[in-house]
Amino acid sequence: MPRRSPTTTPNAQDELERLRELILGNAAPERIQKELDRLRARLDDQGIRAEEISRALPAAIRRSTARDEQLSQALGQTIEGALDASVRRNPKPIAEAIFPIIGPAIRKAIANAIRGMVQGINQTLEHSLTPRGLRWRWESWRTGVPFAQIVLLKSLVYRVEQVFLIHRETSLLLHHVAADDVRLGHPEAVPAMVSVIQDFVGDSFSEAGGLQQFEVGEVSVLTEHGPEAYLAVVVRGIPPASHLRERMNRALERVHLEFGAQLGNFQGDSDPFADTETHLESCLVEEKRSQKPNWVSASMLILALLLFSIWLTVVLVRDFQMKRRWNGFLDHLGTEPGITVVESGRRNGNFFVHGLKDPFAADPQALAGQHLLRPQNIQWQWEAYHALTPTLVERRAAALLEAPDEVRLQVLEQGLLQVEGRANHAWIRRLDLQAPLIPGIRKVNRTALQDTDAMALEQAAQDLESYTWMFPPQASAFADLSSDAQNRWLEGMERLHRAAVRMGLSMEGQVRIDRQANESESLATERWQNLLAALPANLRRNSAWDPVFLTEGSPSLQFRLAWPNRHSQD
């Protein structure tokens, strides 16, 4: 495309003039030039440009921020660098600037930490055995209030539990804060009632200023009034009124200062007052009771613990010893012949033992005594049975047979009863009869047992056989028998008689006649009668003498001494 020449024709000059008039009006060229110079100076002068940019910058930033995030992203690194440089140079301005933010954050963090610590303390107290802890626990159980809350209440001098910010004209609740563990009822309705009570009391006593404080049980309600709103704080315990009121006034002033416009236009919407929380929380103060250690209680507690420990030790040691003795006793019972323990143990604190027991076994109660156990503290239950162990059989035989002292009984294997020693004939007969009937005895060996009656009989017989009564021929009276010999014969007869009676024996004797000398049988009878007359009276009285000639024409007259059924006589 061909470029046109910049040269102007007269016609073109006119057109240019017209165009200049249209753009610049009728201004003189000098004025235009001056305006151009001014514009150039504005562009060239940095001071003027800075001044102009500073005026336009806020609006430009607002528009950019509203449009997108490019400006924020662009400035981010610059601002970080600036903050970093500023803190390095002088941290104070930044610290002061962020103090209002850091303060609540730190308080919140500390509150959380303290809450955790209180919970730890509560748990410690929950497991403690101090009288106070137990008393509080009892109170908690009785009232239904959680134990942690009781601990908190008891360890506090006072505590502001709730803070109400109340609109003065409408009595509506603007904002409300409460301590962490406080039960909330109907906080919206409380301000109205507080206002009513204040108005009622104020009107009743015609006093300006209204009610400053009233108390309900352990709780006090303190009020502080501002022009548009007032604070009502609920305090448990006895608060230091001046200190607390100072805080309340300070908070109220801040609220009026920062929320004056919202208060003046309040139409029931409490949302804008959520930001008063920090100020209201400044009134949530508390003071704890100084927990001085109670040395008297502590020493009493230590003493009690010490005594308890001693008592516990004694009880445990005694119990241990008792168990050891009991086990020793049971072991003993287990080895004792004639005793079989079926069940044993401890029931309701008392020992018991059940089992089988031979009547001739050792006395378990006596055995318990040997082990230092009180038989009366043991419940006994025995079923009788016959033990077949040799010791028991031997003991049973001795008891049932009533063996004389000189007799020794011994039960050997296979139920063999070995009897040794000396015994009279009657006991030997009893042995023969009863021993086989005793449980556990199958055979009796009494070969080593001497019959004292048999021995006496034999001895007496021997003694008597050494005597011969001589009669003169054809005479029936004794001859030449000294009284001494006669007495010994009589004594021998007595012994013979006693032994024979014990043994149930009869005796036989002979009176001889000499037929070659024509001695008659009647002579024999006379001699016998004389002999009989010489016997002691008891022998004669208790005896039946039956003289019989053995055979017709025999030179001997045989007679029999008989004591039928008289074994126990004499």
């Binding site: 409408t170 009595s171 609740l173 009822g185 009570i197 409490s270």
Partner: protein, 165 residues
Amino acid sequence: MLQKKICLLGSPAVGKTSLVAQYVHQVFSETYLTTVGVKIDKKEVVAGDRKVLLLVWDLHGDDEFQRLQESYLRGTHAYFLVADGTRRDTLEHALELQQRFQATLNGIPFMTLLNKADLTRQWELDQGNLDELQARGWEFQETSARTGKGVESAFRRLAEMSLQS
């Protein structure tokens, strides 16, 4: 939370306390009525598209023995004038109360409840009188504390009026 203070005004025994007894959340004992002359309850209603918590001040009936305390009316956003439909004088007394507390109640929206609507046979109110008041801008609502008729809608309507003011 949007809150509004609502008062109930009327002669003794027109049924103010009965109106609130069953239809609001009772917070305090009724003994306050005879002690401090007012009982405060709360009721949450939806007016328009907003939840509104009404703090209902049930003021003790004004009579020769106990005068109603004007301070209780201070700051109210709306109020009910309660009359007993079976007793003509109670409506007159409601008018009188409104006049007496003109300084405090002026310009505040209100609604007149004609209570005991379940006893229409014993109705004593003069319709002409009611029409005249209605022409002056009064709103009426027949209510029955016994059957609950009109109670909910009355609270809702008063909440709306309080928002519009």
